[in-house]
Symmetry: C2
Subunit: 297 residues, 2 copies
C-alpha cells in the first residue's frame, strides 16, 4: 500500500467538536481521485489536539468512507501507555497501517525512542510507519536509529521530513538511507515543498498534505514520478511554489489548508482546534488568490 500518493486530510474541528460531515466531504475528494492511501489524523489532521474518543471516531469514519483505499492512522501521543491504547483503537477501527511519531515533551534519547517503537511493534498486527517530523516532535533521528527501528518486525515505511534542496544531494541522501535500512522498507517524502525532490531522488511515495485537500493536483506529481518523468515532476511542483510559500509564511501547512478548506466550502471558515487560530481575513484572501491563480479545486 505504501507507494504513490498517501493523502493526509485535515480533521475539521468546530467549537462543538469534530465536524464529521466536513471530514467526510474531504474523504470523498480523496476517494474520487483514487489516491493510493489515506493518512488520517496526521499532524494536519490534528491528532494531538483530539481526545482518544474523537480519534477513535475519526479512524472509524475514515475506514468507513475510504471505499477500500487503505487507511493509515496516526497513533502519536507523549505517553507510551496512551500510544498503545490508540494503536488498539486504530486497529479495531480497521486501520491498514499505523503512523507513529516520537512525540516529545522531555527531550528523548535514542534508546527511549527505540523503546517506544519496540513496545508498539510487539503488540501491533498491522504495518507501522515511522513518522519523522522534527518540527512538531522536536526529536531528530539519525540514519542509524532509522536502521534499528526499521529492523523491528512490522516497521515497513519511514515518513521523512524532506530531503536536501539540491537534486544530487537529495539522491545521495536517499541512497545512503536505503543502505542503512532493511530491504522492503519504503521511504516516503513529506514536507510538500520537498515532494518533487524526494520523488526524483527515488522515494517510494509522497506523504502529502496538499494531497489531503487537492488530491488531483498531488496525484499528477506521483503519476509523473511513476512514469519516470522527472522534468514533469519538477515542473508540477515549481508551479505550486505559491502554495509552498504560503506554508512557509504561516509556520506550516495546517493553517493554510484549514483556510483553503473553508474557502472551498468544505468546512467552516474556522475549522482549527484551539489554541490554533484561523488565518486573518487578509491572509485568507491571499490563500483564496493562490487557489484561484493555481486553479486548485
Amino acid at each position: 500500500m505504501l507507494t504513490g500518493l498517501s493523502a493526509f486530510p485535515l480533521t475539521p474541528v468546530t467549537p462543538s467538536g469534530v465536524d464529521e460531515k466536513g471530514f467526510i466531504r474531504l474523504l470523498a475528494r480523496l476517494t474520487a481521485a483514487k489516491v493510493d492511501s489515506i493518512g488520517a489524523l496526521g499532524s494536519t489532521g490534528s491528532y494531538i489536539y483530539l481526545t482518544r474518543q474523537q480519534r477513535e471516531r475519526i479512524a472509524a469514519l475514515a475506514v468507513e468512507h475510504a471505499e477500500g483505499i487503505p487507511v493509515m492512522i496516526c497513533i502519536g501521543a507523549v505517553a507510551t501507555a496512551e500510544v498503545l491504547l490508540l494503536a488498539e483503537d486504530a486497529q479495531r477501527a480497521g486501520a491498514s497501517a499505523l503512523l507513529l511519531p516520537p512525540v516529545s515533551y522531555q527531550r528523548l534519547n535514542d534508546d527511549e525512542v527505540f523503546g517506544l517503537f519496540e513496545t508498539v511493534a510487539r503488540s501491533a498486527s498491522v504495518p507501522i510507519c515511522l513518522y519523522d517530523n522534527p518540527g512538531t516532535t522536536h526529536f531528530t533521528f539519525t540514519p542509524e536509529l532509522y536502521g534499528r527501528i526499521a529492523a523491528l518486525p512490522g516497521v515497513q515505511s519511514i515518513k521523512i521530513p524532506g530531503v536536501a534542496a539540491q537534486p544530487d544531494r537529495a539522491l545521495a541522501q536517499i541512497n545512503a538511507l536505503r543502505a542503512a535500512l532493511p530491504q522492503g522498507v519504503s521511504l516516503g517524502v513529506s514536507g510538500d515543498a520537498f515532494a518533487a525532490l524526494g520523488l526524483n531522488a527515488g522515494c517510494d511515495l509522497w506523504y502529502s498534505v496538499c494531497g489531503g485537500l487537492f488530491p488531483q493536483t498531488a496525484k499528477a506529481l506521483t503519476t509523473a514520478a511513476a512514469q519516470g518523468d522527472r522534468d514533469r515532476v519538477t515542473e508540477l511542483s515549481a508551479r505550486l511554489e505559491p502554495l509552498w510559500e504560503l506554508y512557509r509564511k504561516h509556520g506550516g501547512s495546517i493553517r493554510v489548508m484549514a483556510a483553503a478548506a473553508g474557502i472551498l466550502g468544505l468546512t467552516d471558515p474556522d475549522c482549527l482546534p484551539r489554541p490554533l487560530l484561523p488565518l486573518s481575513t487578509a491572509d485568507r484572501a491571499e490563500v483564496a488568490a493562490v487557489i484561484a491563480a493555481l486553479e486548485l479545486a
Copy 2:
C-alpha cells in the same frame, strides 16, 4: 503564596500506574521542610505523561497531604479544551493556583498563546502562573507577550526559565521584565542552576525541582535570599554545581531526580513514565556519589 521556595516534586510512575505511596513520601519531605508552596504535576512531575484521571488523583493527594501549604497544579495540555477540563479538576481538588504552560505541537504564534491564557483566565477562580519553559513547550515568550498575559485578571506570577549568566545582565533582565508587567505579578526563577542568579537579581521566588526532592537544601538558598545575603546565595548554589552538572549531562533534571529518589529509597529505582527510561547503572552510581559528596538527604 508565591514567594520563597515553591517545591516541584516528581510524580513517581511504575508499570502499574502512579506510585501514590511514593508520591506521599515525597510530599512528607516538603511539609517537614515547610516549603512555601508545592508545585505538583510540573514538568518534573510528569504531568504531560499522565491521564486526566491520574492528574486529578495526584492533585487531590497533593492537597490532602500538603498540611495547609498552598498547592499549585499544572494544567498544561496541547488542546485548550483539555486544559479547561484540567483546570476544573485541579480547582475541585483544592488547588490554590494553576500553572499554565503553552504546550505546543504545531508552532504557536503570540495570539494563539494569548488566546489560551485568556480562555483559561476567564473561567478560573484561583490565581494563574504563566509557565515559560521553552525547552519543553518549544514556545518562546517575548516580554511584550508576558505583559499582555499578566494584565489578564488572575494571572499573578510568571515562572521564567532562567536568567542571564552574568549577575549584572540578570539584574537588568529582571528590571526590564518588572517594567513590562503590572505591579503585583511575581517573578519566579526556574532552571535550578539559575536560582541564585535569579534570586539575587530580585526574583520573588524559586520554582524549584531541587526543592521537590531536597527541600532543606533549596530552602537554605531562598532563606539567604530573603535575608538579602547575596554572597551566601551564590555560595550555596556554587556548592550544588555537581548536581546542576548532572542535569546538563542528562538533558534536564527529571531523570536525575528520578534516580535520586530511587537512591534515597523513596521510590522504585525506575519511576519514570515511558517512553522515558531510567539512567543506566553507571549513571545512577554517579548520582549516588554526588548525593553523598554534597550530603544531600
